[in-house]
Symmetry: C2
Subunit: 246 residues, 2 copies
């Protein structure tokens, strides 16, 4: 089913819409087939959230907004799923933060990177990442490449849907890492400084709203929001919610 064939009145409109977008991503050559499997895993966990942004996720979004506002060089990282699912929201977020966006793929392929660049250009985003020249230490070569003006220089990286290895490696470089992950038990959720346990499609618009609201706070109160956030406690709260839902 294509996006336009899904009636807005359908009780599963949001879920079908995401499926349609990710399927289109595969057809456009920007989403890897394995990205579809990852989408399915996310769907299963999203059911356990009742397919809504729960209170603990709101708290994580607030901390993420503060962390991004404090940053001197924040960077957004997008993969083939994020580019397919919510390109508009990523474009808006990068405008809001006036920051670079870089593409980084788990399943390599410079051709796919170029297609993602082309795709995001339609939404007004000039992506970094093709022909990236710097290497993240301790990762195998293909997944290590980052561009100097993007992730290499960043002090805060927002990497929705990142894998555990890269999250860990980015943290080891001294960066603050914010991930979005529907599984609170995943390695990236646990390794990140801030993990938002939510659907990326729901949470990026909320993150933009939160940035709007916190924009005029001074850096001391932003810092306070960040330092009072405990990722470990937050993940436990999300897990407890899911347990009850199951």
């Amino acid at each position: 089913m294509g996006e336009k064939e899904i009636p807005q009145s359908h009780p599963r409109y949001n879920s079908l819409m995401q499926r349609a977008r990710i399927e289109k991503g595969v057809r456009l050559g920007i989403t890897h087939l394995q990205g579809l499997i990852a989408q399915g895993r996310g769907e299963a966990y999203d059911y356990l959230l009742g397919e809504r942004t729960i209170a603990s996720a709101r708290e994580a979004i607030r901390a993420a907004a503060a962390q991004l506002l404090i940053a001197s060089h924040p960077v957004l990282s997008v993969n083939g799923n994020v580019a397919a699912l919510c390109p508009e929201a990523i474009a808006e977020l990068s405008n809001e933060l006036n920051c670079a966006v870089e593409t980084n793929l788990f399943y390599s392929g410079d051709e796919r990177k170029r297609k993602i660049v082309e795709h995001m250009k339609k939404y007004g985003v000039d992506l970094l990442g093709v022909g990236a020249e710097k290497k993240i230490p301790s990762l195998d070569s293909k997944r290590a490449a980052v561009s100097e003006e993007g992730i290499w220089k960043a002090d805060v990286v927002f990497v929705p849907l990142e894998d555990g290895d890269r999250t860990e490696a980015l943290c080891a470089m001294g960066k603050k890492v914010i991930v979005v992950d529907l599984s609170p038990r995943s390695r990236s959720a646990r390794k990140a400084d801030i993990c938002i346990v939510d659907n990326v499609v729901r949470c990026v618009p909320l993150l933009i709203e939160e940035i709007h609201m916190l924009k005029n706070e001074n850096s001391e109160s932003l810092q306070k929001i960040v330092s009072s956030f405990s990722n470990k406690r937050n993940l436990r709260e999300s897990l407890n919610f899911m347990k009850k839902q199951l």
Copy 2:
């Protein structure tokens, strides 16, 4: 990663193997892209089972074996995911029961049906389902088609990975319906007479073993196994296991 590139020593061998097979299914044109998303949902629930066949699933497998042995006209139904994931086991099961196998697709397409037929032929299975002439009442036309010698005539249907609507419609026709579903809360799990909450790749070989073991039992003791099985109780046990695991 193709099947042959995955080292047997890899800690995630089974999971990677399934991903490789389902990806190959897409390339062969037998698995729908949406089937990959379904595979991902299954993976998430399979983590919650510890990726093994739990005690309550063993009990459901035993009841399924007894139900299939009692049947006068059992039929196996395969979709694009099952054909990609475990064609060998389906072939063995149909030999064991000396029964028909039919292909039924949620996402329609006679071309895809033909490709599944071709694929299963390599495993020695002659599939029914192409040009099916009978209709399951109360389903929309494409998903309703079943063949007279297959599901139409069946008294017991083994339909791994079936959707809720069809499960319900088959039950309404008075058939005994056995499904395999990793989500104990899904509609097909609840509507089926017997739901095996397990990975189809693990459970079909176990079902074959169980059929071997029960083969010489008389129909009275087989009937006893079936009637002492409660699908509702069994699903609750699986759910409780998952809750603890989470």
